[in-house]
């Protein structure tokens, strides 16, 4: 890996984490929004509990609107997207303008969604841009070390969110396995207790089951990479 400062490694990792936070949250909210149209959505208070964010929302509709678009809300998707782009902007010469443009496009779609009567159409375009971002950096960033740091960010965040949002054990185990494999050949330091926790869970989870209390695994996923 070429010369990178610790601050750049930190930004690469967090760019990956925020990009995945936006991606996974968006998928989740699209399903949730669909339920609020004419289905039976889960009470938003439960989601706030799962995500460990304060419940400042009046009802499910307010939750959708606010949690997606409120730029003053530190937990919102908008804020996560802003951090994703902000980290990306500081890495232009590392990831190149062509790749950064996909993060900018994703952010631009979010702004459009905010002012749209069918926000999930724009959200779909946002997901398209995020997927293109993943493909673009994989294809154009030559340095494998840089690619791996970003991917570590993706996978850490995905594990954390899948575990928090109650995704099926099998899916969580698959992502945890990916995370372990990834950090093994990435030039980042890891915390041994977190690594051991994840390793133990994936080894014991061969039958596709996780412990009922997922909090230790959430913690391990988020704390695994030490920057």
């Amino acid at each position: 890996m070429g010369a990178l400062t610790l601050s750049k490694i930190d930004r690469l990792y967090w760019m990956g984490r925020y990009a995945e936070r936006v991606n996974t949250t968006l998928h989740f909210l699209m399903n949730y929004y669909d339920q609020t149209i004419d289905g039976q959505p889960v009470d938003h208070r439960q989601i706030c509990d799962q995500l460990a964010v304060p419940n400042i929302y009046k009802d499910n509709e307010d939750f959708i609107r606010n949690f997606m678009f409120d730029e003053t809300n530190p937990d919102s998707l908008y804020t996560a997207a802003d951090h994703m782009l902000g980290n990306g902007m500081t890495l232009r010469e590392t990831i190149k303008s062509e790749t950064l443009a996909y993060l900018q496009m994703a952010f631009n779609y979010l702004v459009r969604a905010k002012n749209s009567t069918s926000p999930m159409i724009e959200a779909q375009s946002m997901i398209d841009a995020l997927m293109a971002f993943r493909g673009s950096f994989d294809d154009t960033v030559e340095d494998e070390g840089i690619r791996d740091i970003i991917k570590c960010g993706f996978t850490s965040e995905r594990c954390s969110l899948y575990l928090r949002l109650g995704y099926p054990d099998k899916l969580c185990l698959k992502e945890m396995g990916k995370l372990i494999a990834r950090v093994r050949h990435t030039p980042v330091r890891t915390r041994s207790y977190a690594f051991a926790e994840l390793l133990k869970a994936t080894a014991a989870g061969d039958g596709g089951r996780l412990p009922l209390d997922r909090s230790d695994l959430i913690h391990a996923s988020e704390e695994l990479v030490e920057i």
Binding site: L4, T5, L6, S7, M89, T90, R92, S97
Partner: protein, 440 residues
């Protein structure tokens, strides 16, 4: 529309969508709040003929060479002061003069590596220099990316016309950095994401193959600058810094600066790193010194200036003060300590009370101001919605000094959105255009 530019006009929406895709933005601080916005782009370019460019190129090189010689002289022998060509007062009282830079000889003797020279074209066809920017002139990245996106949107327009290629700006910058490099990597030092020109900093780093760094990424040890690499320190040989002198080194300038690099000046003084542009250049682009640039050209180069200043008066001299007071209505007065379109007063815009109060200020602090005849500069067509209207526009030409002095065959054309305004600065709500230099 001249030159059949309808293809560009027809594609204005798609061009601007592309600009948004690449985040072509600049930031403004207003009332302490930072706002970032897209830099409005007008697709109708300014066109400079090949013949016109020959004179512009010669005149700009001449001016920048003279300014570099002036800086070398001022921070060393000061012969131009001794020979009474430039009054000492205009040098030592300039806020851009830095005593801390006395005696420093920059690598390869170059002070202003990237010069942004602002010009306007009068209705009589004559180009006038409005201002020299020798500190950290910004703006080259905008026409650079705009041209690329316009080519992508309207290829036929570019196939059919003989326009000089502007793709080489990144290479010019890299060559200039390599030329002065003292051993190590090239770095672009930025104050960070919330700087108004951050897009430019990051884009130029990419284009010139330099490393974009913030202050925390660099440190000085044994008078050498290092980049904190993940595999250990990496020596830095040249720094294109995009922060102002005051904030560059808290141990030399403002101690409260958190965006500078402690001891970077010691390394520079020891000749271990090149800083582009060199600290202390503000003494040569001071609005008061501007008056003396034609004299500098004659003094250092023994040549007649090819490009002209706008007719300028120095209230510092009694006869110029009297002229300014008597003719305030037809003059524009500029505060020499201000930039970015601030501190500019058009005499005819003042009420009688304001005029009297301003005259008192002029008498009290004559050194603080210059006055100029208002150059009736040409209007350029811009698109407003679907119609084309005429607005005032200037040109920032970029001159890169490395092994040779090179004028970039492009430039940033800025225009005013306000039909009655002569102020084109982006910080004042203006937009920009590409600048085409024709090859024949």
């Amino acid at each position: 529309m001249h030159m059949g530019l309808t293809e560009l006009q027809d594609h204005v929406h798609v061009i601007n969508t592309q600009m948004a895709r690449y985040g072509v933005k600049f930031g403004i601080y207003k009332n302490g709040i930072y706002n970032e916005r897209l830099f409005p782009f007008d697709p109708i370019p300014r066109i400079i003929t090949a013949e016109e460019f020959v004179d512009l190129e010669k005149g700009l090189k001449q001016r920048v060479d003279a300014l570099n010689l002036f800086l070398a002289d001022i921070y060393d022998k000061k012969q131009i002061i001794r020979d009474n060509v430039v009054p000492a007062e205009f040098v030592y009282r300039s806020p851009g003069y830095l005593a801390q830079c006395e005696g420093i000889k920059p690598p390869m003797g170059i002070f202003s590596h990237i010069s942004g020279i602002d010009l306007v074209k009068g209705k009589n066809g004559t180009w006038y220099i409005l201002e020299d920017n020798l500190r950290i002139p910004s703006g080259a990245s905008y026409p650079l990316i705009a041209r690329m996106l316009c080519r992508r949107c309207c290829p036929q327009t570019f196939r059919e016309r003989a326009i000089l290629d502007n793709r080489n700006y990144g290479k010019l910058l890299k060559d200039a950095m390599d030329y002065v490099n003292r051993g190590g990597i090239n770095v672009i030092l930025t104050p960070g994401r919330y700087n108004s020109a951050y897009f430019e900093h990051s884009y130029l780093a990419e284009q010139s193959d330099a490393v974009l760094a913030e202050s925390m990424d660099l440190y000085v040890e044994d008078n050498r600058v290092y980049y904190r690499g993940n595999n250990g320190p990496v020596r830095v040989g040249a720094i294109y810094r995009r922060l102002s002198d005051d904030y560059l080194d808290p141990l030399t300038f403002k101690p409260e600066s958190v965006i500078g690099v402690p001891n970077i000046m010691a390394s520079y003084r020891a000749g271990n790193v090149a800083i582009m542009n060199t600290p202390g250049n503000g003494v040569a682009d001071d609005k008061g010194i501007y008056y003396f640039v034609p004299k500098m050209i004659r003094y250092y180069l023994d040549q007649e200036p090819i490009l002209h200043n706008a007719p300028t008066y120095l209230p510092f001299y009694k006869e110029d003060l009297d002229y300014t007071l008597e003719n305030l209505d037809k003059l524009v007065v500029k505060d020499v300590a201000e930039a970015g379109g601030y501190g500019v007063v058009f005499g005819n815009s003042l009420s009688p009370e304001q005029k009297e109060s301003f005259k008192a200020k002029l008498r009290q602090e004559p050194r603080r101001f210059i006055s100029q005849e208002v150059v009736d500069f040409e209007d350029l067509p811009i698109m407003e919605g679907d119609t084309v209207v005429n607005r005032k526009a200037d040109l920032r030409a970029f001159v890169v000094s490395g092994e040779e002095t090179t004028v970039w065959p492009c430039g940033l054309t800025r225009f005013s959105r306000n039909p009655s305004s002569f102020i084109v600065n982006s910080s004042q709500g203006g937009g920009f255009k590409d600048t085409w230099v024709l090859s024949h």
